[in-house]
């Protein structure tokens, strides 16, 4: 009988160990994904012809495709999960502190989730101070930054008015790989 109890304790110890191994494996997977994205982003970024365009927004070596599961899920359920590098940290702080009235929608998050996403955004934000075109600082919309206006200066007004575009926030209307974080000129297809 004593021996049996000893056995059971031992089994519990082993199973607990096994469980924690499965959990660790899941986390390790996440990390690898991120690493994979990182190097992919770097390659695409540095090999494209228009290299340097994004430099003001974080610099060349920084990833185009840093990722975070909560950011992707929460920010990405109503719109594209906008890459953190297109706004500076003060803008992201302002966005995150007004989620109860997020451009007309309630987008409130659990406090822990909000903290995680806020940290991710700030850590990967544009290092350069992004200025707004309408005098409201810091800009809350990427499309209100001087950088955005300048990048899109050659886009004609008929394209902006195309119902398939609808709004300058609709990156995916022209940037066919926006969803995976790539805004390379090679992937731009204007809608007709």
């Amino acid at each position: 009988m004593m021996k049996n109890i000893g056995n059971v304790r031992w089994l519990i110890a082993i199973s607990t160990l096994l469980m924690s191994i499965t959990m660790v494996a899941a986390y390790a997977d996440d990390d690898e994904d991120e690493g994979g994205n990182r190097s992919m982003g770097y390659e695409r970024h540095s090999s494209r012809s228009g290299a340097g365009e994004d430099e003001g927004n974080g610099g060349k070596g920084r990833s185009s495709m840093v990722s975070n599961a909560k950011w992707k899920e929460e920010c990405g359920s109503c719109h594209l999960a906008y890459p953190p590098r297109y706004l500076s940290a003060d803008s992201w702080r302002a966005v995150m502190s007004g989620l109860d009235k997020h451009f007309g929608s309630n987008a409130t998050l659990d406090p822990e989730v909000a903290t995680e996403i806020g940290n991710f955004l700030e850590q990967n934000a544009s290092k350069k101070q992004q200025r707004s075109t309408n005098g409201i600082e810091p800009p809350l919309r990427i499309s209100d930054t001087k950088w955005f206006k300048s990048e899109h200066r050659e886009v004609s007004s008929s394209i902006w008015k195309n119902p398939k575009v609808k709004s300058p926030s609709n990156c995916g209307a022209c940037h066919t790989k926006a969803d995976s974080g790539s805004f390379s000129e090679h992937d731009v297809r204007m809608p007709r």
């Binding site: 089994l11 082993i14 199973s15 007309g104 929608s105 987008a107 409130t108 709004s167 609709n170």
Partner: protein, 137 residues
């Protein structure tokens, strides 16, 4: 030896299912709403899919109804009224993920009811809507 492996396999499986706890079924969610409604409204007389459909398709003083984003046909893919982003169908009969995650359900009822009604939805309203969605084939 056989006992050792079978017992540890059992514990392992038990442990894994604890990790993925909180999975629910739409009918389980409905039952929970039912007891909530019975507690909070003294004259509670059960849910109505017809009332839920009306609630879902009507505006409630604001710009949007539920169907502005989820469409009039909950078996179809919806489209976000502001951003045009596609939204997977709401009817559990065509989208098995719907109403299986209580945290997600609470989060979206809170947000969407706020946008559509400027207030939280009551357990009665939530249960009516879910009854309607469960009826859609």
């Amino acid at each position: 030896m056989f006992r050792i492996t079978s017992v540890s396999a059992f514990l392992l499986v038990a442990g894994l299912s604890i990790q993925s706890a909180y999975a629910e079924t739409p009918n389980g969610v409905l039952a929970a709403l039912q007891s909530e409604a019975a507690k909070s409204a003294p004259g509670f007389q059960g849910f109505s899919a017809a009332r839920g459909e009306q609630f879902f398709k009507q505006k409630h003083g604001n710009e949007w109804s539920c169907s502005s984003c989820h469409t009039d046909n909950p078996a179809a893919t919806g489209k976000h009224a502001k951003t045009d982003k596609p939204i997977d169908p709401m009817a559990p009969s065509v989208n098995a993920e719907r109403f299986t995650n209580p945290k997600k359900i609470d989060k979206w009822f809170k947000r969407n009811c706020n946008d559509v009604l400027d207030r939280a939805c009551t357990p009665q309203e939530k249960g009516d809507v879910l009854s309607y969605l469960l009826n859609v084939r």
